[in-house]
Amino acid sequence: MNCQETRENLNAYLASEHQLFDKAKLEKHLDNCPQCQGELEQLQALNNMLNSLPNQGAPASLKTDILATLSKPNSKSSPINKGKLVRDLLAAAAVSLAIFWSGLPLFNGTDVDKVNQSFNKLAANYTQATGSIVNKTVNWVDKTNNKIHIKEWKIK
């Protein structure tokens, strides 16, 4: 096996995907080629770097939200998603964004959960300020879709 062929297979080698190349020949080449060994070490270091990204689990509400949507008898093909709707509404009702943004320092939270919590608090503040507008809109959505209930997130 030459250097080029070796290098093309180093990732598969590291991943123990041995079916695509001759493992014995690759290892024999590695034993005799410091350059390819260096390349292997670099790829291991790269893998370590890639592993530094945190692995994020699904939020606890995900399954409940999905099953709630699916258990509604005549759920339409594009479900209204609570978080998304609230965000869309807030974006649309640009009425008192100043109040909205001054409510809490939102997006400098230290993790996603905290951002979510802040978001809920913020949404509550916002609702107090412009509750009637949001409520009207949500009532309208309620009528058309019967899926969103403002009280679910208003009280949080």
Partner: protein, 205 residues
């Protein structure tokens, strides 16, 4: 009484007959996989959550068309991958006002707990550099890399999800790693020298 593990196939069959509890069990089994795929492919945790919800609802709607030609997980991953790609394309068109992932994702991984603040900051910068480099890869290379490296699918499974050959998966992952190595060369060098120091300590040299 023998407690046989309930297979995905059995749950799918029940779900196809309208059993929502069975589908809930499938959601339970795969929610973290689907969410974390969206988390890696999309721009923000919000998008990942929306995507995961929509993916499971789409999948439920499509259940009658699932004939078991592939494993349920492969099929689900295929729907999930396509949905994320759609979302990305839609968002690119909107050139949106979405909150940037980096502003929104200041969490430090648990391994940093208790370490020096400077080191935590360094790790955060490293994470952001990694995320940026991954985002910058063309989808053709990014998808197989993410499915294999982060979702821990084998080359075979990755090939099935993407409906390409196994050799193509290997080639694309190789190309993706080459591109990443170039973009992250500084970080790779740091990592290498740290590993060297570690092994020197280990062997008392």
């Amino acid at each position: 009484m023998i407690n046989l593990p309930v297979t995905d196939e059995l749950l799918v069959k029940k779900a196809q007959q309208g059993n929502l509890v069975a589908y809930g069990e499938l959601v339970e089994r795969y929610q973290h996989h689907v969410y974390s795929l969206g988390y890696k492919l999309l721009k923000s945790p919000h998008e990942a959550q929306d995507a995961a919800q929509e993916i499971f609802i789409r999948t439920h709607k499509a259940l009658p068309t699932f004939k078991g030609q592939s494993k349920f997980s492969t099929w689900l991953y295929r729907i999930a991958t396509n949905h994320c790609l759609d979302t990305l394309r839609r968002n690119q068109r909107e050139q949106n006002k979405n909150v940037d992932w980096n502003n929104n994702n200041n969490q430090i991984s648990t391994s940093d707990a208790g370490s020096q603040p400077e080191e935590a900051l360094l790790n955060k910068e490293k994470q952001q550099a990694v995320k940026r480099s991954l985002d910058a890869l063309p989808d053709k290379y990014r998808l197989p890399l993410i499915l294999h490296h982060y979702q821990e699918l084998s080359y075979r499974q990755t090939a099935e999800v993407l409906e390409i050959g196994e050799a193509a998966v290997a080639t694309r992952i190789h190309r993706a790693k080459q591109m990443l190595k170039e973009k992250l060369s500084g970080g790779v060098a740091d990592e290498l020298s740290r590993n060297k120091r570690k092994s020197e300590r280990l062997f008392g040299q």
